[in-house]
Symmetry: C2
Subunit: 217 residues, 2 copies
Amino acid sequence: MVRPIRPILSRARICAAALAIVDRDGLGELSMRKLAGELGVQVSSLYEHVRTKDDVLHDVANTIMESVDVSAFETRDWRHAVASWARSYRAALAAHPHIVPFLAYGPARREASLRRADAVHGGLVGAGWPPRYATMIGASTKYLVIGSAMTSFARGFEGEAQVYVERYAHLMDAHRLRDHADTIDRDSFELALEMFLDGLDRLHTRVATPQGSVEGA
Amino acid sequence: MVRPIRPILSRARICAAALAIVDRDGLGELSMRKLAGELGVQVSSLYEHVRTKDDVLHDVANTIMESVDVSAFETRDWRHAVASWARSYRAALAAHPHIVPFLAYGPARREASLRRADAVHGGLVGAGWPPRYATMIGASTKYLVIGSAMTSFARGFEGEAQVYVERYAHLMDAHRLRDHADTIDRDSFELALEMFLDGLDRLHTRVATPQGSVEGA
DNA sequence: ACCTGAACACCGTTCAAGT
DNA sequence: ACCTGAACACCGTTCAAGT
């Protein structure tokens, strides 16, 4: 292998390669040695650019979180904003199911997450929600998205489906079953979101301050 | 060390010791060697009783899931049943926060989980919900519990809190902050649950079959 | 500055051997 | 049946050394 004049490695290249491995092989299959191998480099070279494996995963998680769209909070339609944020959030996780456990587990001190949280909170307060409720609505919505992502994407990598396949093998094949599970998951998420928003709608008329009024921090 | 006449090890003892380590040191700190060490035994002895480390963790997860109370579904008050199931479920996870990532990630083919799922589904159908809605309500509630457990218990082991502590060190100490975070999490969970149930209440009057009528499987 | 090669202290799991 | 001790093929991370 020819020694390159310019550096092979960079933080961004390492992050991209790590995401590719996680997406392809799963979170448990990511190792620094494999990562180095795919980049055509020795393991220890990675440590010139990243502090630790955890560091790499945080980078990956940050990248994914950056694709979550919170722009709808710039309007005053809080209901639509929460719904579109939640759907965008869920879609971002669905695009990289294998990393969800890390993303959900790790503390939310990732920059991208904090910035999104600010947008959500600000948007809700701007729409008349008291700050305390804005915080709770943000947290609740996150629960729904994370919970949905965890339980639905976790399924199917191994388990559950097989149980039903064995039991009802004559009824439907695995492929149809997987599609069915995906539909149930999406529908359940949408139902929860709609019911939650319906409930909030009625609460809003009781607790919201008139729009435009100033709220204490 | 004296060689005992009767067996030292058993599946139950291994499971109990594993849970103790996970609760005390965290999921990442559980290793077969440490487990063996605490049981006063060599690593390889464990493999006489369990097939794999994953096997041990599934046992632990099953134990925890067995403490979830679904007895409220024996009544016809579906709203109270869902609420008390959700709270019991969340409490069970709160009692063993470190294992939540495993519990949430692993496919739900654990026996205890499946039996609970049956009780929930049956109870909702008995209360007049069409089977399709019963499935979705069960899934949605699970999302909320898992999401709440993941995001709230994940925080605090490292991260987030520290950020605020550094920033607002003069405002409050870490202890008060942790309490505050716990309160926010509980309140957010309760808000989401109430709003969800409020939404469902109105839906119920539109889609439910008269109680006592027979539903197709 | 960037990468190498060897080493350290760990893993989960297996297996022949002892009692 | 139950446990031991050694081994295998892995980990993440460090560090002196090369260019």
